[in-house]
């Protein structure tokens, strides 16, 4: 299970619309996700013979962090993480990141990890995208700026991309 150290990371919660983004600057905490696959081992007269891939499993995501501040692409109004995950309040007009609009509302969770410190060697920026995340349990403490959630993504794998710093 990859565990991402959330220091020096920013988490974006992206809806389906271009400007539907909340950027979460992380203080302390963790985000972990689990990719699973089922393997069916087929035996021939009791002897291991062949292997087939079984049913697909969604990526499980769990995060628990305190945030320093939230910003949004539109600038002046910033929905809270809870509003975004539940599509309420300032995020009530958001569209789902999922292509099928009849499915429950989902967001893409984008973790941007920039390990470069000022004055040191420039490291590439790693962006992990957990597509179509739907929460299943959620704890939110707005006063303390803390949020803890777990849920699943409607994909079997996280997508990871590396880009040159400053690009």
């Amino acid at each position: 299970m990859p565990v991402i150290d959330l220091k020096q990371t920013t988490i974006n919660l992206n809806g389906g619309g271009g400007s539907q983004t909340v950027e979460v600057k992380i203080g302390e905490g963790n985000l972990s996700y689990t990719e699973k696959r089922n393997m069916d081992y087929i035996r021939d007269k009791g002897v291991l013979d062949t292997v087939r891939e079984g049913d697909e499993e969604p990526v499980e995501v769990r995060f628990d962090f305190t945030w320093e501040y939230l910003t949004s692409a539109t600038g002046d109004t910033v929905p809270t993480i809870e509003e975004v995950l539940k599509r309420e309040g300032l995020a009530s007009a958001w569209t789902s990141s999922a292509a099928d609009v009849c499915e429950p509302f989902a967001v893409d969770v984008e973790v941007i990890y920039d390990p470069t410190c000022a004055g040191t060697i420039v490291e590439p920026i790693e962006t992990t995208t957990l597509a179509d995340f739907r929460w299943e349990s959620l704890e939110h403490d707005m006063r303390g700026g803390a949020v803890a959630a777990s849920g699943n993504c409607n994909v079997t794998r996280a997508s990871i991309a590396r880009t040159a710093a400053g690009s």
Partner: protein, 178 residues
Amino acid sequence: MKLQGKKIPTAEVIVPIIRDSGNLYFTASPVLNYDDFLKLCPEPKPPKRMLPGGVMQENVADPNYKKKLEMFATHRTHYMILKSLQSTPGLDWDTVKLDDPETWANYESEMRGNGIAEGEIARVINGVIQANGLDDSKVEEARRGFLASAQAVVDTDQSIQKAELLPTESGEPANASE
């Protein structure tokens, strides 16, 4: 408005470009308002960010905002140069349009393309800076000149007062009874 009873003269700076075929002159005058500029390039505003507790704050550290602010400053400098040089008689640009900020940066390549050397371009820009009161060395020189003349007035006053307090022949200071 008057200062010391005088109308404030416009600080126009003439920059000659020496040519055997006949000298050319750029005129730089101060840009007195930036209203037209601000209509074309409104000053970027920082996005808002929410702090824990729901407090909204301007996010001046936002990298996009910083980029926009940098672009705004660059555009403002280009506008100042072009607007200032507008008072040059007969100056027509081929690609620069004052109502299109995207073309403003072309002034330098146009000047270079028309045979004006790097050093001469620098002198023209310097002239614009002077006309717009942004030349720190000139301002400092003027400030020192003003302070020196003010000190000279104080020195003269003190020497007059000393002369008045010099003892008379009877040994009494001239103004001792006052």
